[in-house]
Amino acid sequence: MVTAFMEKTTENQAVQSSSQSHKESILKVNNLEIFYGEKRAVNGISMDIEKKSITALIGPSGCGKSTFLRSINRMNDLIPGARAEGEIIYEDLNILSEQINVVALRKEIGMVFQKPNPFPKSIYENITHALKFAGIKKKSKLDEIVEESLKKAALWEEVKDRLHKSALSLSGGQQQRLCIARTIAMKPTVMLLDEPSSALDPISNAKVEDLIVDLKQEYSIIIVTHNMQQASRISDKTAFFLSGDIIEYDYTEKIFTNPAVKKTEEYISGRFG
């Protein structure tokens, strides 16, 4: 009994000490609860997300990780009946507040979805689309941003000769990199990736993974993934979600080699989920 208690305390200490980041944090989540109507999907989670690093969210389907991700740029506002309580602090502001201009927020916290969703327009227009909304009208400036963001998304070489062709003519992997490029074009601080490569073949997947690792230099990235190898390959920290709670949140290396909680070990070794 006493030993069990002791173990638990040391466990907590271990979690706390190792989750104290060496890097500055970009987002601080305090006691976040998310509801769909009456149903609670996320039960009061707290975590700090490090700046310019990759944070992976893992866990079985329906554990609340995507819901959490979508609350960070307020995409859940689009779902009738969804509401969030608690705080997500970004540069001293609670982004869940009523006073937040969600349109401006989404320019700083961009999102890439599971299924590549380019607009049925040309490659060029896919990137300039949101820039024009943001008020950038000058052709030379637009050209510059298009080239820059396609280069960052490692797509420039493949598409530079056909910028005005339909984006739907690209392969799935290219489409997904285009979606990443158009998010980069908005110069966000945080990028939210919701299973960005789960709909892609292994080669495209590898390209997207390499890209994500490169993007870490400039952006803080939060990625939801069902692919354990992917999480262990690319992320710096990993949070394991289960039934709306964070079971364990630590450095990826620790989570995958020596998890503190038994459930985590069971999940990553494929014993349930």
């Binding site: 740029n73 995409m75 689009l78 009738p80 349109v103 401006a104 927020l105 989404r106 320019k107 961009g110 999102m111 890439v112 979805f113 299924k115 969703n117 380019p118 607009f119 049925p120 327009k121 689309h129 949101a130 909304f133 943001a134 339909s166 739907l168 979606c179 158009r182 998010t183 908005m186």
Partner: protein
């Protein structure tokens, strides 16, 4: 009794034997000639018959209208050029009958395009309201309203137009009241459900990913609707408008009651006018079958048919561009 049950017994035991794999493979798997037994052939014949009846109805109407419609030109010697370019319509003039149907052709087109100009923005606006702005309660109110509009018979539209709209226009706007404007208003309300329903389908069939993609880039709702959703749905939205126009072009009764039915090309929207359909319905009763005037009415019917083919071709062309 026995004769009746025995074949059924063998039939079901046959099924059982097959399920239990008791009969050899050639009896289980090879095609048999006993298709009648499982109703496969009967079903096939039944649906083929339905299709044949529909196709032959359409073809025979087309052939009939084609031969009747061309008779005025071939048999009666009415000039086709005169028919579609002259503005003089005097078929009853004994000395010098004139068969210029241009005013009616013009009237049909004018009232159709004007109705489309009114109904398209209203219908597409309503569709956007239902799908994007207030998907929950907007749809609850607008959907039954639209279904009601469809259910109202055209004679009722015409009657309301005649008793409310025509006097209103006469007193408030000017002219006789019987006018292109009245026809346009009545028709645009009649085609509104068509346009709205198809436009709503177009908007709601757009992928959720498209919306999310745009919002996630920091686009506002209006920017998303205007720059992403409407362009993506455009081919279907155009189809909605064209289908509405096809309906307006063919509508006779309600238009006839409010448009005034004169033989001149209208010079303003307050002038009375006539359409191909209204002239046919007005004159088909009192002209003798086989007379020149009656034959020219058939020619007008042929023009309506050709136009409806043209609308169908246009819709097909637009739908084929919907791939994106």
């Amino acid at each position: 009794m026995h004769q009746c049950i025995y074949p059924i017994m063998t039939y079901f035991r046959g099924v059982w034997c097959i399920m239990e794999k008791l009969v050899p493979a050639k009896d289980r798997l090879l095609k048999s000639n006993k298709n009648w037994l499982d109703g496969e052939l009967r079903g096939k014949i039944l649906v083929i018959l339905c299709a044949v009846i529909m196709i032959s109805a359409t073809i025979s109407i087309t052939i009939f209208l084609g031969t009747k419609g061309l008779q005025s030109f071939i048999k009666n010697g009415v000039s086709l050029i005169e028919f579609i370019t002259s503005t003089q319509w005097n078929p009853t003039n004994q000395a010098k009958p004139e068969y210029g149907a241009l005013p009616f052709i013009f009237g049909s087109f004018a009232v159709t395009f004007l109705a489309a100009i009114v109904a398209a923005p209203l219908g597409i606006g309503g569709a956007i309201f239902m799908t994007e702005i207030a998907p929950s309660w907007g749809k609850k109110i607008l959907q039954p309203v639209i279904e009601l509009l469809v259910g109202i018979p055209s004679v009722v539209y015409g009657f309301i137009g005649l008793t409310v709209l025509v006097p209103f226009i006469r007193e408030q706007v000017g002219g006789l009241g019987f006018s292109l404007l009245s026809g346009t208003i009545v028709l645009s309300i009649m085609i509104l459900p068509t346009v709205t329903t198809i436009a709503t389908d177009a908007m709601s069939s757009l992928s959720k990913n498209l919306r999310e993609g745009s919002y996630a880039l920091g686009a506002t709702r209006w920017q998303t609707i205007r720059k992403v959703l409407i362009p993506a749905a455009l081919p279907t939205l155009l189809t909605a408008i064209v289908l509405g126009m096809a309906r307006a072009f063919g509508e006779a009764l309600a238009v006839q009651m409010v448009i005034g039915n004169v033989r001149d090309i209208p010079t303003s929207i307050l002038d009375a006018s006539a359409t191909l359909t209204t002239i046919i319905t007005l004159n088909m009763g009192h002209t003798t079958y086989g007379s020149v005037e009656n034959n020219t009415l058939w020619s007008m019917g042929l023009i309506l048919l050709i136009m409806s083919f043209a609308f169908i071709l246009l819709i097909r062309y637009l739908s084929s561009r919907r791939k994106m």
